[in-house]
Symmetry: C3
Subunit: 136 residues, 3 copies
């Protein structure tokens, strides 16, 4: 069992590839076979496994989310922090606060096209805390 | 490895904060560092991590879900148990049957604003079974 | 800790019940109490726990997804592999790349109505790799 925490400084709404940081923790852990668990400590940013070859995939995911959960939706009462506050909570709920990935041969055994992304849902830059736990 | 089961009696559609029950199991387990896994054994209720300070967040999530997955939608064939039956399955799919949370210093290491909620998606009260597994 | 990989040949968009294959891995592992982790190594197919008694539930989930994430949506730029390519990524994001299920008395402790399904989101048949990790 190895646990490590790091932060990611986001530049506002959008995705950040954190695959390398997570694989680095797995290597430090020295675990050959197990589970790597990635956790995001926030309710307005989330994690996803996503196609890592073509950036238009992430742009299209963003476009779909903006249509499904529009900023400034009059449906929402919780608007104290602005028109992107409540949409950020819905987007986090619809995606993932944690990811669990098998560790095989000392690395997260991702599919060829799977990358690990932090998705900032607020328009303002934020510092997001991530905990990685590697279980042998 | 420590495993414990409890039930929650819901009062129909809505959320129940189960953070204290889960933290109690972690304390009983006596695990300092590890993973806490929470599992809901049902397909018409689900789990979520959600902003825990302002109840309007959960009301807004409910409002968004009711618009995205309306009760009585003529799209659905599976209506034997009523107009909220199939929406409950969709809502469960879009949220989470299980949550995995890092344990650090003997507690679920939740973010400041993260609470653990059971979300009942049926209108009638139900008794929901939850299994908590704490891994060291 | 026991890890096993298998493949599922899908016949195009639709669900395949993999509960038996997963329970078989848990039995082989000989683990009495723990966590069973199921991982899908692809970004255009996903996993879900779903009501296992009435096939109309899975048909209705499919119908809901087709309406929420329509094939050929002009919103999408990433269309190189066809009109179902980008919808498959959105559908995967909205559902699950992995499932974690408590193991109790040597089996995945599923609810009475919970089955484990692989959901192929592409129209063409694919071979999907699944890794099951059983932790004691």
């Amino acid at each position: 069992m190895h646990q490590s925490k790091f932060t990611v400084r986001t530049s506002g709404r959008g995705t950040t590839d954190i695959t390398t940081q997570v694989q680095d923790v797995v290597r430090e852990a020295g675990v050959e076979q197990g589970i790597c668990h990635v956790f995001n400590h926030h309710t307005s940013a989330s994690l996803m496994l996503c196609e890592n070859a073509d950036a238009t995939v992430r742009r299209d995911l963003e476009a779909w989310m903006q249509r499904a959960v529009p900023d400034g939706d009059p449906l929402f009462e919780h608007t104290a922090e602005g028109p992107d506050d409540m949409p950020a909570h819905v987007r986090t709920l619809l995606t993932h606060s944690s990811l669990s990935i098998p560790v095989t041969a000392g690395r997260c055994s991702l599919g060829t096209w799977q990358g690990i992304y932090l998705w900032e849902h607020r328009h303002a830059p934020h510092t997001r805390s991530i905990t990685v736990t590697v279980q042998a």
